[in-house]
């Protein structure tokens, strides 16, 4: 059985209440840290742990925290990004739904470490019922004296608020999130300045994912060095994976980073293999925006080594033969899946969610969707496939925020790895009625 740090108590009945959470060791880490550790010591432990941002980019959290500007007389903010909107990702929802106090405890610990006296949890609109659960937990924490003025007699004050967004994917981008939190239109800001210097209301701000903040609790509990021993190389600790698609046991799993992908998909402990004994066709390993990989490349890297669930191993080979761990939205597709149809679904999503601020993404995402629709309807031409490739290359890297890349990467990867299937839609629409024919075709 793999080691669990975040979800070790998720099976306990009533763990969402303060009473049960405390009975199972909850808030003991907070008491220990607030009374016995300095803020800098906490930051130091997080640095030592090698914890990397769990929202998708994988930036070292300790380093992000140490970048926070600390001018005199200016408030600092900690904002928790709970706008989990990446298709295929649902780990934060599970965590907040089951163990809301873990996030609250992590928020208090992190705010103490960063010297923030006001902190926010920005949660996506569709998670309205989760916000109720969080608010309930925060209310309990206030009553128990973990929040408010002079927490546990240490002189540290903290107010924690939950803000519900209006359900825009773009508000998961940290600067758009801050704009939205300020009550403005959720358009990403141009960086620099980075939020660490001028974030919420122009003050230094740290924005972290739910899972990242929750992971601070076990890190302080066990010590940064001990946490760093879990995992492999620079991918330390455990990671929540939202497994979905054609697998026998979809769900949220906590894995130690470094687990082989093959074991994760096929072992009974995890996903339990492909449904109905069908063959694995492709995997989107880290949420809809990361490049899709065909079965042979997701199980083994281009030079034949087994692919592991870690930032480095999944990224090996760049985008030509690799992908990204991203936010851990692990979407498995079997041999009956049409990659073109799947891509159309993704493209439609990015078209719908583009904020419209910069031109390549505003115009290009809709254009790609229309071309894919045309190909799907059997009205496409071979030139359309090249056009798609050209459009994605002109969006990627030309936009203010990473939504441009998020829209371009899936298109690029699908064409790169599954071009014959696209061509079949154009040249021989009858053949794709049984998509299995295209299982073994490669470029």
């Amino acid at each position: 059985m793999s080691r669990k740090l975040l979800l070790k108590n998720d099976h306990i009945q009533g763990i969402n209440t303060l009473k049960t959470y405390k009975e199972n060791g909850g808030y003991s880490v907070l008491e220990k840290a607030l009374k016995g550790m300095s803020p800098d010591a906490i930051v130091e432990e997080v640095k030592k742990s090698g914890l990397r941002g769990r929202g998708g980019a994988g930036f070292p959290t300790g380093m992000k925290w140490s970048f926070l500007a600390k001018p005199e007389g200016v408030p600092r903010y900690l904002v928790c990004n709970a706008d989990e909107s990446e298709p295929g990702t649902f780990k934060d929802r599970y965590l907040m739904e089951r163990i809301p106090h873990l996030l609250v405890e992590g928020m208090i610990l992190s705010s103490f470490a960063l010297g923030a006296n006001t902190s926010y949890i920005y949660i996506r609109g569709e998670y309205f019922y989760v916000s109720r659960i969080l608010e309930q937990a925060i209310e309990e924490a206030y009553q128990a004296g973990y929040l408010g003025k002079n927490i546990l007699g240490t002189g540290f004050d903290l107010d924690l608020y939950v803000q519900v967004g209006a359900g825009a994917y773009i508000c998961g981008e940290e600067t758009a999130l801050l704009e939205s939190l300020e009550g403005k239109r959720g358009n990403p800001r141009i960086k620099p300045p980075f939020p660490a210097v001028a974030g919420l209301y122009g003050c230094p701000t740290v924005v972290n994912n739910v899972e990242t903040i929750a992971a601070v609790v076990p890190i302080i509990e066990m010590g940064g060095d001990e946490y760093a021993k879990i995992g492999i190389g620079k991918s330390t600790g455990t990671k929540l994976i939202s497994a979905s698609g054609h697998i026998n046991k979809p769900g949220v799993y906590e894995i130690e980073l470094g687990l082989p992908v093959e074991e994760f998909i096929f072992s009974e402990e995890w996903c339990g293999g492909i449904k109905g004994g069908r063959k694995l066709k492709a995997v989107v390993a880290g949420g809809s925006s990361v490049p899709i990989l065909p079965a042979d490349l997701i199980l083994k890297t281009a030079n034949g080594e087994p692919r592991l669930m870690s930032y480095e191993s999944l990224g090996e080979g760049g985008f030509v033969t690799g992908t990204m761990l991203g936010s851990g939205g692990f979407i498995v597709m079997d041999e009956d899946t049409s990659i073109v149809k799947n891509l159309y679904t993704f493209s439609r999503f990015y078209h719908h969610e583009s904020c419209g601020q910069c031109s390549p993404c505003r115009e290009g995402t809709g254009w790609m969707e229309r071309i894919l629709k045309k190909i799907l309807d059997g009205r496409g031409s071979l030139a359309d496939i090249d056009l798609l490739w050209d459009i994605q290359s002109k969006i990627e890297g030309k936009t203010i925020c990473p939504l441009g890349e998020a829209a371009a990467w899936p298109v690029a990867a699908a064409i790169r790895h599954f071009r014959p299937e696209f061509e079949a839609y154009v040249t021989n629409p009858d053949s794709i009625k049984d998509i299995k024919h295209y299982y073994r075709l490669k470029n």
Binding site: G356, S359, E363, W367, K394
Partner: protein, 345 residues
């Protein structure tokens, strides 16, 4: 002061200068085009992506290249920065892509658009775009609406540069228009059927780089290249009163603010921007209202007024002549005088 090179041209600029401003100090072909950036409006720029440049070396301290093209209007220079604009073919290709995106849903209704002849999108597509679009889908359409009694909004032509929103924010009180909806459906609109009504709203027309916001008192009166611009002033208690009149004979067809070579409203002597009020712009349409200073020194950079098409044709013809071909082998076959701006037939 930081020293940088843009397309191999070295220049020393004050701290905090953006790449685009540095390029404008050098001038000439290396200046990246800017559709949304407006130096007189704070926080403008960064949206249209036409001004992207390649940064080959970030600074003397950190010589790594920047991983992506950067918006030159919003990127400040660092000492030792090496920037490539027109000397980087991939940058030009990327810009051509941006131009294609901007034109993807543009109606190309230049023949009936009041902005034609002084339109930045016309210039941009001519100078940086490709000759044809690859878009075969229906373009998005909106009905033209009146926002306020003097301004017409053609949302079809809008490129969402946000300049007019920033004018309303920074020049007037109580902005009542902005961008509604998201993504492709984003549009400029007023707050639920509200009309824009304040003394400086007309400046939105001046900052609009395309024909999305036009002057209703000038609509369909004349093509701009048939008007004679003169600089004039009057004593106005609301604004500086320094304007440009666009006349035809004795008739004042249009009044605008004075613009510089970048298409931006000029500065007053005291350094403030010479925005003009709606009274000067819309009400004072008699020559007797004004003291004429003399003909305007305007940059005839526009593709139509500078006879770009004509020049292109003569270059093609001459090249073909030199190659021994007959002039009628020219690809562009147009009627006699069709491109002559003075041809009124």
């Amino acid at each position: 002061m930081p020293k940088i090179t843009i397309d191999d041209i070295p220049i020393e600029v004050p701290e905090g200068t953006t790449i685009l401003q540095a390029a404008r100090m050098i001038g000439g072909d290396i200046v990246p085009p800017a559709m949304c950036y407006y130096s007189k409006l704070e926080t403008s720029g960064g949206y249209c992506r036409t001004c992207i440049v390649k940064v080959e070396q970030g600074s003397a301290k950190d010589p790594r290249p920047m991983p992506k093209p950067v918006a030159s209007c919003r990127t400040t220079v660092m000492d030792g920065m090496v920037v490539r604009n027109i000397t980087s073919p991939e940058n030009l290709e990327a810009r051509a892509g941006v131009v294609e995106f901007l034109l993807l849903n543009h109606p190309l209704d230049c023949p009936v658009c009041d902005q034609a002849g002084e339109c930045h999108l016309q210039d941009l597509s001519y100078e940086h775009g490709k000759e044809a679009t690859r878009n075969e889908f229906e373009r998005r359409e909106y009905d033209p609406i009146d926002i306020g009694d003097k301004i017409k909004l053609h949302m079809n032509r809008c490129i969402l540069c946000y300049r007019c929103v920033k004018v309303a924010d920074q020049l007037t009180d109580g902005r009542c228009h902005g961008v509604i909806n998201r993504g492709e459906h984003a549009e400029i609109s007023t707050y639920i059927e509200k009309a824009i009504d304040n003394d400086f709203s007309g400046n939105m027309i001046d900052v609009c780089p395309v024909g999305a916001l036009t002057d209703r008192t000038f609509r369909f009166k004349s093509r701009v290249w048939f008007t004679k611009p003169v600089d004039a002033h009057r004593n106005c208690d609301k604004c500086c009163g320094k304007v440009r009149l666009w006349n035809q004979g004795e008739e004042v067809l249009r009044v605008t603010a004075r613009k510089d070579q970048w298409g931006e409203v000029e500065d007053n002597d005291d350094g403030s921007t010479a925005w003009i009020c709606n009274e000067c712009r819309f009400e004072k349409k008699n020559l007797s209202d004004w003291t004429i200073e003399g003909p305007s020194d305007i940059s005839r950079h526009s593709v139509i007024s500078a006879n770009h098409y004509e020049t292109l044709r003569s270059i093609q013809t001459n090249t073909l002549k030199m190659m021994g071909a007959k002039p009628h082998g020219v690809k562009v076959e147009l009627g006699e005088g069709a491109l002559d701006p003075n041809n009124q037939k």
